[in-house]
């Protein structure tokens, strides 16, 4: 089996699956403009960019990453367009989304 390109978290070649080129989507992560692809969830786009820490635990502020991918574990909860506790593993990435790491329980405004 082929070793993939170093530095890229995207699957390039696969014996069974095809990942055709998709439209690029720009979004804002922690104040910076970054890119994902059409069809990505917020979490998959961030992971592909090498962003592993998605939130911090409420009491001890320990880093939290992607864990269950089914919207169950709350580890990937982030602030999206100002709204806290968005389950980024089951939320589709949309153009110009503003995504921030969540450090607390999040307040309902």
């Amino acid at each position: 089996m082929k070793r993939r390109q170093v530095g890229s978290m995207r699957v390039n070649e696969h014996p069974i699956l095809k990942f055709p080129e998709r439209e690029k989507i720009a979004f804002i992560f922690e104040g910076k403009k970054v890119y994902g692809y059409q069809g990505d969830t917020i979490a998959s786009a961030l992971h592909a960019l090498g962003v592993k820490t998605l939130s911090y635990s409420i009491k001890l502020h320990r880093p939290r990453g992607f864990y269950c991918a089914i919207g169950n574990c709350a580890s990937c909860n982030m602030i999206v367009n100002g709204k806290p506790n968005v389950r980024t593993c089951i939320t589709l990435l949309e153009p110009d989304m503003v995504v921030e790491r969540q450090m607390d329980k999040g307040a309902i405004k």
């Binding site: 070793r3 390039n12 880093p63 919207g71 169950n72």
Partner: protein
């Protein structure tokens, strides 16, 4: 309130199959799923299935999902809601669905809870570091979104999921350093283990993770050998640099919604943990609320499909309706489900089901 004859919670294999049967019998169905797409965990499964024709043997998981979705998506009796999380279930069969930032209330005559399962976790130091994933999550990330979990990975657990996902990681180009297994023997099918071994991946039995090392994310793990009493042997610690760790130590049925309506549950280790007490027709101890698939006991997707078809038919009967082939199909799927459980890997399930039924009074 919106009225529905049947609300199915969960659009995985069992939920989809239940929807098909009920819809064909003329039952109005609402199928809710919190994910972006229907199909449950089938949509990321690239391996071919075992079993017989009734369970789409030799077909890849994601292709089975397409078949099951096609069966219901255009059916006039089925309404489908994705990105719809059921957040409330009440004994009078009111269902609250969270969808598009709003809460929608439905009044159902019957409900099927087909919520599936969630991954179990493992206790060790620093087990919350980013870079430590559930095996199912890794499968989703790489097979559905085409994103790799890391460069170098260790798999914890040698059950079928651990073995299959390890192989899929290799296919995607990830360096699988080892599979570690606390038990003295490999948990999954020999055919999957042999495939892994032929590629030179060591399967280390009687070994576990002592701790994860890293500050912002995973950088290494410390492995340790276990003695015959499952105790760590000091002096056998070994540090391995990796940037991803995959946990595949089993699944727990998601019974939580059923607990909201006080359906009776029982702790059955053979079925994966707390499961609802159900009668022979998959009805829980709450009248009109049924459950099927992994939510009532961890098995393979093949069994979940058979249970789904059956539960769809049982609910139809409960609603005093009839599928055009009610009796024939009921016999067929009951036979198929039995066949699946008669294999060597069905032993655990059968013991679990026996325990679940023993000494229990059903629907009150």
């Amino acid at each position: 309130m919106i009225q529905k004859e049947l609300i199915i919670i969960g659009g995985g294999p069992s939920g989809l199959c239940a929807a098909k049967m009920a819809a064909e019998a003329g039952v109005s169905v609402l199928l809710c799923d919190r994910s972006l797409k229907l199909g449950g965990q089938l949509i990321k499964q690239t391996h071919k299935f075992f079993g017989s024709k009734a369970q789409y043997a030799k077909t890849r998981g994601f292709d089975i999902a397409k078949i099951l979705i096609d069966d219901v998506i255009h059916h006039p009796m089925v309404e489908i809601m994705t990105e719809a999380t059921v957040v409330g279930l009440y004994p009078d069969k009111v269902v609250t669905v969270y969808h598009n930032d709003t809460y929608i209330k439905y009044q159902a005559q019957t409900i099927i809870v087909a919520t599936g399962a969630s991954e179990k976790f493992l206790a060790f130091e620093n087990n919350d570091l980013p870079g430590i994933y559930g095996a199912g999550a890794v499968q989703t990330l790489m097979n559905l979104y085409g994103v790799l979990p890391g460069q170098d990975i260790i798999m914890v657990g040698s059950g079928n999921i651990g073995l299959i996902v390890s192989y899929q990681l290799l296919q995607a180009g990830v360096n699988v350093k080892a599979i570690v297994e606390a038990a003295p023997t490999i948990g999954g099918y020999k055919v999957h283990a042999s495939k892994i071994r032929r590629l030179g991946i060591p399967i280390m039995t009687q070994t576990t993770i002592q701790k994860a090392i890293g500050k912002e994310h995973l950088e290494a793990v410390e492995l340790v050998s276990l003695d015959d009493k499952w105790q760590p042997i000091s002096g056998t610690e070994k540090t391995m640099p990796i940037d991803a760790l995959c946990i595949s130590v089993g699944l727990s049925p998601m019974h939580q919604l059923l607990s909201m309506v006080n359906a009776k549950t029982k702790f059955i280790p053979e079925l994966g943990g707390f499961v609802p007490v159900i009668d022979d027709h998959h009805q829980t101890t709450v009248e009109g609320i049924f459950a099927c698939g992994d939510a009532v006991g961890i098995e393979e997707a093949s069994s979940a499909m058979m249970e789904g078809y059956l539960t769809g038919l049982y609910v139809t009967k409960h609603l005093h309706k009839e599928h055009p082939e009610q009796q024939k199909l009921m016999e067929k799927y009951e036979y198929e489900l039995n066949m699946l459980r008669n294999g060597p890997f069905g032993v655990k399930t059968k013991i679990g089901l026996e325990k679940l039924r023993r000494g229990e009074t059903h629907a009150e």
